[in-house]
C-alpha cells in the first residue's frame, strides 16, 4: 500500500531543478505579442477608437477593436456545461467590449512583433467614451436609479435565492428571547497565484490550439468554441504545469481573445500574458459579501429563529455568478440547525473587477459572518464559545436533504478536542479576559463547513485512461489537473494501489490536451481526489480484471485465482508469482497470434458528495497603540477523511492557512470611489502576507474515512483558508473586548475601532 504514505511529489525533482516548463517557457520566442487596451473609465460606451497613431509604431502587426469582434456573447465560468438552458452560465462577455463596465475593461487589442512595440502601440490607441455613472457597492447598486450595468438585470440583481424553514416571524415572538444582530463585511481580494494568467494560440491542422495556464482545459475548450462561434472540436486546449490558480484559472480568462487574435493574423503564434497589474484587475477576484445575521436565542443559547441576508458583489460580469453567495447561504441552516429560518441572498453587478471562483467558493465570507456571530451570541449570553458550539453545531448523523450529505462521524468534537489541546484553550481563554494595558493577548476559534464536489448542483463526471508499456509501467490520464496542489502524486498513489503496480511505475501524464486527454472538468471544488479517485479506481479495477483475463493465455490460471501485486501476476491461493507485468505486457503486445495494446478507459459519473469539516484556532497579541495584531499561535484541524499523502495534505493546509492570514489581516483590493480605478493592483500595495507575518503553522488531522469515497477521501484543497479569519477575529475580541465586523483587520480598521472603544484615551 502506498496510500497514506508521504511519498515525494512526482514532479518534485523537475520543479526543484527548474526543469519544469510552464506556458511561457514553452512558447516559441518568435511569438507575436498581444497587449490589451484597457478602459480608463469604469462605466461608459465606447464612441470611437482611433488607431491611426498606434499603427505607426514599428512592429505593429494588427490592431483590433471592440467594433471588430463577433457579436455573440459567451460565458466564462468554469462550470460543467448544462444542456438545460435554464442552468447554463450567463453569456454576457464579448472578446472586446463597446459597453465598458469596469475600470480596465477590454476595448482593443494590439498584436505586434515584440512586447515593447505592443505596449507602445497600446498606449497610442485613443478611445473616446460616453461616460456613465458608476456604482461600486452591491447594496447601492440595487437601489432604484442606480447605474444599470446589464439591461436584462433590473436593479443590477443577477440572481436572488432564498430559504424558508418553519415560521421565523412567529417563532421570535416567544417571550424572553435575546436578539443578537450583526453586519459582517468581507473585502474584494485576489488569488495572487505566482504565475500570471498567460496563454498562446496558433492555428494548426484546421484547429485553433491554445496553450494556457488553466485549471479547466476541457471547459475552456467549450468556452473558446462558444466565444468564437466555431465547432468545439475545432478548438484544442493544452494545459502544461501551472504556477497556481486558486480558482482564478477556473474561468475562461484571455484564452478566447488570444485564440481569436491568432485567427485574425492568419493563425500566427500569438502570446497574451497578463502583467501582475492586469491579473489583479482583469482576471477574477473574490466576491466581497456583506452579511446581516439576526439570531433570536434563549438564555441558554438555543437558537429559536434566525435570519440571514447577504449581498454579493459580482463586479462587472456574471462569471461564476450567484453560485458563490448561494453556497454560503445554503451552509447557514446546515452548520447550526435552527427550526425557524429566513435566508436571502442577492448577487449584484457593480463596476468592480469581475468576481469569480476563489479557494473555498463563498465559504470564507459566509463562515466569517457566521462564526463571528457565534462568538457574538456567546459574549452577549456569557456562554463558553466551545461548549456552546459543541451544543449548537450540526450533530453527528445529520443529513442534508438536498445533497444527501451526511455527517457520519463526530468530526466537530474530535477536531475541536485536538485544537483545544494544542492551544491550551480553556486556560488561556479565561486568563485573557478583562486585560488592561497596551499589549493584550487573546485566543479564539472557528469551525467550518464544506462540501467536497458540486453534485447535485452540477454534473460530476470523471474519466480515466490507463496504458501499459512493455515494461509493465503505466501511464495514467485524467481530466483533473495538477495545479500545484499535488494531484498527480495522489493520483499515482491511488492507481498504484488499486492496480497493484509499484508507485515508481505509475506515470500520471500531467499535461492535459483536450484532443488526447479523456474528458474531465478540471481542478475546482476540492473534488480531485474524490471524483478522479472514483474514475481511477473504476478504471484500475477494470484494467486489472482485463489484464488477469489476458494473462490466462500465459498462466493458464483462472482470473479469479490471481491478483496483481507489486507489478507481478500472483496466484492468490498460494502466493506464487506467476509472471511479471513486464513479461506479460511485452508478450501480449508482440504476440504473433493475438497482439494487444493493454489499455483501459472508463468514465465514471459521481452522484454523491461529502461533507468536510474541521476547525481553526488562533492566539494573538494585540499592540493597541500601534494598532497591530501579531499572530502567536495557530492551528487548523481537518477531518478530510483518509489522507492519500499526509505530507502533501499538510502542505496544502499550510498554504490555505497562509491565504487565510492575509484575508484576515491585510489583503484588500481598494477602488477609488470616484473613478472605480483599483488603487493597489500590485504586490507592493496589495498586502499579501509574507513569511515574516506568519507564526509556525500547525496542522492536524482526524481521519474518519468517508464512506462514499473511492479511497475514503473528501475535501481538503479549499477548506484550510476558511476558519483563519474568524478565529483571529474572535481572538481579538477575547483580547480587547472589541468586536470587529469587517476584513481585513488591518491597522486602519483597528485604529478606528480602538478609537471608538476609547482604548487610546490616555494619549489623545
Amino acid at each position: 500500500m502506498v496510500i497514506g504514505k508521504s511519498l515525494p511529489r512526482v514532479d518534485a525533482l523537475d520543479k526543484a531543478t527548474g526543469r519544469t516548463k510552464y506556458t511561457d517557457d514553452l512558447c516559441d520566442r518568435g511569438a507575436l505579442i498581444a497587449k490589451i487596451v484597457h478602459s480608463d473609465k469604469a462605466h461608459a460606451y465606447v464612441k470611437s477608437v482611433d488607431i491611426k497613431e498606434a499603427l505607426k509604431v514599428p512592429g505593429v502587426v494588427k490592431i483590433l477593436t471592440c467594433f471588430d469582434v463577433p457579436e455573440q456573447p459567451f460565458p466564462t465560468a468554469g462550470h460543467p456545461w448544462s444542456t438545460d438552458p435554464h442552468h447554463q452560465d450567463v453569456a454576457d462577455r464579448h472578446l472586446l467590449t463597446r459597453h465598458v463596465r469596469y475600470y480596465g475593461d477590454d476595448v482593443a487589442a494590439v498584436v505586434a512583433e515584440d512586447e515593447v512595440s505592443a505596449v507602445q502601440a497600446a498606449r497610442a490607441v485613443k478611445v473616446e467614451y460616453d461616460v456613465l455613472p458608476i456604482v461600486l457597492d452591491a447594496q447601492e447598486a440595487m437601489k432604484d436609479g442606480a447605474p444599470l450595468l446589464h439591461k436584462k438585470y433590473a436593479n443590477n440583481v443577477l440572481a436572488h435565492t432564498d430559504i424558508r424553514r418553519g415560521n421565523y416571524e412567529e417563532a421570535i415572538k416567544e417571550p424572553g428571547l435575546v436578539k443578537v444582530e450583526g453586519w459582517y463585511d468581507t473585502p474584494t481580494v485576489q488569488h495572487c497565484h505566482i504565475e500570471n494568467a498567460v496563454c498562446y494560440a496558433y492555428e494548426e491542422a484546421g484547429k485553433v490550439v491554445v496553450v494556457a495556464s488553466t485549471q479547466i482545459p476541457h471547459i475552456v475548450r467549450r468556452c473558446v468554441g462558444q466565444a468564437l462561434g466555431i465547432d468545439w472540436g475545432r478548438v484544442r486546449i493544452i494545459k502544461p504545469y501551472i504556477g497556481g490558480g486558486f480558482g482564478d484559472k477556473q474561468d475562461a480568462l484571455y484564452e478566447p481573445l488570444c485564440a481569436w487574435l491568432s485567427m485574425q493574423v492568419g493563425g500566427r503564434l500569438v502570446k497574451l500574458e497578463c502583467t501582475r497589474e492586469e491579473t489583479f484587475v482583469n482576471c477574477r477576484v473574490r466576491h466581497a459579501i456583506r452579511s446581516h445575521i439576526i439570531s433570536y436565542v434563549r438564555a441558554d443559547g438555543t437558537m429559536v429563529g434566525r435570519k440571514l441576508e447577504c449581498w454579493s458583489n459580482q463586479g462587472a460580469y456574471a462569471s461564476h455568478g450567484h453560485g458563490i453567495c448561494a453556497k454560503g447561504m445554503n451552509a447557514f441552516p446546515q452548520l447550526y440547525p435552527c427550526p425557524n429560518l429566513e435566508a436571502d441572498s442577492w448577487t449584484v453587478f457593480t463596476n468592480r473587477s469581475v468576481a469569480g471562483a476563489m479557494r473555498a467558493y463563498g465559504m470564507p465570507q459566509a463562515i466569517f459572518a457566521v462564526e463571528c456571530h457565534t462568538d457574538d451570541i456567546c459574549r452577549k449570553l456569557g456562554l463558553d464559545p466551545i461548549e456552546y458550539r459543541r451544543r449548537a453545531v450540526m450533530p453527528k448523523g445529520y443529513v442534508d436533504q438536498f445533497s444527501k450529505n451526511e455527517l457520519y462521524s463526530d468530526s466537530f468534537n474530535q477536531t475541536i478536542d485536538v485544537g483545544m489541546k494544542y492551544m491550551d484553550f480553556e486556560r488561556k481563554y479565561k486568563e485573557y479576559q478583562n486585560q488592561t494595558g497596551d499589549i493584550r493577548r487573546g485566543i479564539g476559534m472557528s469551525v467550518f463547513w464544506y462540501n467536497t464536489a458540486v453534485w447535485p448542483i452540477s454534473l460530476e463526471t470523471s474519466s480515466c485512461r490507463m496504458v501499459m508499456n512493455q515494461d509493465g509501467s503505466v501511464q495514467v490520464q485524467v481530466g483533473e489537473t495538477e495545479i500545484g496542489q499535488g494531484a498527480d502524486t495522489a493520483f499515482a498513489q491511488m492507481a498504484a494501489d488499486t492496480l497493484g503496480v509499484p508507485f515508481e511505475k505509475v506515470h500520471v501524464v500531467s499535461c492535459q490536451d483536450t484532443d488526447v486527454t479523456p474528458y474531465g472538468t478540471g481542478a475546482y471544488a476540492s473534488r480531485q481526489t474524490y471524483t478522479a479517485g472514483m474514475a481511477i479506481r473504476t478504471c484500475a479495477e477494470d484494467f486489472k480484471a482485463h489484464i488477469l483475463k489476458v494473462a490466462f493465455d500465459y498462466t493458464r490460471m483462472q482470473p479469479y485465482l490471481c491478483d496483481i501485486v507489486d507489478g507481478n501476476i500472483v496466484r492468490i491461493t498460494d502466493g506464487r508469482v506467476l509472471m511479471s507485468l513486464a513479461d506479460l505486457s511485452a508478450s501480449v503486445l508482440y504476440s504473433l497470434d493475438s497482439s494487444e495494446h493493454l489499455t483501459m478507459e472508463k468514465t465514471t459519473q459521481i452522484k454523491t458528495n461529502a461533507y468536510s469539516f474541521g476547525c481553526g484556532f488562533a492566539e494573538v497579541e494585540v499592540d493597541i497603540p500601534m494598532c497591530k495584531i501579531k499572530l502567536l499561535k495557530i492551528i487548523n484541524v481537518h477531518d478530510a477523511g483518509i489522507l492519500i499523502n499526509p505530507a502533501l495534505a499538510k502542505a496544502q493546509v499550510e498554504g490555505g492557512m497562509s491565504m487565510g492570514i492575509g484575508y484576515a489581516l491585510s489583503e484588500k483590493l481598494i477602488y477609488d470611489e470616484k473613478t472605480g480605478k483599483a488603487l493597489n493592483n500590485n504586490l507592493l500595495d496589495y498586502k499579501l502576507s509574507t513569511f515574516m507575518d506568519h507564526p509556525h503553522l500547525e496542522v492536524a488531522f482526524v481521519e474518519n474515512p468517508e464512506p462514499t469515497s473511492a479511497y475514503g477521501t473528501k475535501a481538503l484543497g479549499e477548506p484550510p483558508v476558511i476558519p483563519v479569519a474568524p478565529a483571529i477575529r474572535n481572538a481579538v475580541l477575547n483580547a480587547t473586548g472589541v468586536a470587529l465586523y469587517e476584513l481585513p483587520m488591518d491597522p486602519h480598521l483597528l485604529f478606528r475601532k480602538f478609537q471608538e472603544a476609547h482604548l487610546f484615551a490616555k494619549e489623545e
Binding site: P625, N680, L683, L684, T690, D693, P747, F751, E763
Partner: protein, 294 residues
Amino acid sequence: MYDIKALYEAKSVEDAVRLLTDHPDAQIIAGGSDVLVQIRSGKRAGKELVSIYGLDEMRGVKMEEDGTIRIGSLTSFSHITQDPLIQKHINVLGEAVDMVGGPQIRAIGTIGGNTCNGVTSADSASTLFALDAIIEITGPNGVRTEPISSFYLSAGKVDLAHNEVQTAILIPKKSYSGYKGHYIKYGMRNAMEIATTGCSVNVRLSGDKKTIKDVRIAYGVAGPIPMRAHTAEKAAAGQPVCAETVDRFAAAVLEDVKPRDSWRAAKDFRLHLCTTMAKRALIEAIKKCGGEVL
C-alpha cells in the same frame, strides 16, 4: 522586455558627468530597483540610461581622518547592514536599511538611489536626517556638499542638477559619537513594505544616564519629504530621563509633522502613529544608551 532607448555605461564619475552632459534627456541608473519599475510602468519608458552601477569607486564604507563616516552612494543596503564601521558607530542606519523591501531588493538597491529618488518613505532617509548627514555631489565643476535637509527639495525632487552625480553620503563624527539610535518602520506587514511612517531617533545621555543631553528625531512620510521634529527635540533636550519627558517629547512632534490623507493611510491615523512611534523610538534609543525610562 524594457522600453529603453539606449544604455551608456560610465567608466568613472567624470565619465558619468560627461555622458549626462552629452545626453540631456538621459536618466541615471544604479541598482535599478526604482528606475526599472518606472520604465515598466511607462513613467520613464523610452529613455536613455546612464549606468553608474559599475563604478566601484562609489562603493563601500570608510572612515575618514576626522572620524567622518563616508558611505559610497552605490553601497547596497545589505552591505551597509553588514559593514563593521556601520555596526560599530551607526548601527541604527544598518538596521533601518535592513527593513527595505526584501533580501533581493536590499542586495541590488543602493543608498544613493534611495535618497536621490526623493521620496519621503525611503527607509534610509529619516535616519540620515536624524544623523545630520551630508550629501556629496560631483558635477562638471567638481565636488560640492549639502546637508541632507537642503538636499531634499520637494516630493520626488532633490538638489541634483541633470549632470551631477551623488557620490557619497557623509556622517560627521559629531553626529554619531556618543549617540545611539533607533528606527521604527511602520508598515502594514513585516516585509516587502514601503513605510506608512518611519521614525528615527538618535539620543545622547549624560554620563549618569539620567539626563537627555541631546536628541534628534526624524520622520519619513510625515510630510512631502523626510523631516525633523525640532520642537520635540527642544522639548526633550536637557530634560531628565523619565516617562513625563518621553510623553512631552511624543506630544510635541505634532507641532512639526504634517502628514496627509491618502488611501494608503488617513491623516489622523498617521498623526497617532507619529506620537506613538516617537515615544517607542525614544524609549528604545535611551535603552541602547544604557538609560532606563522609569
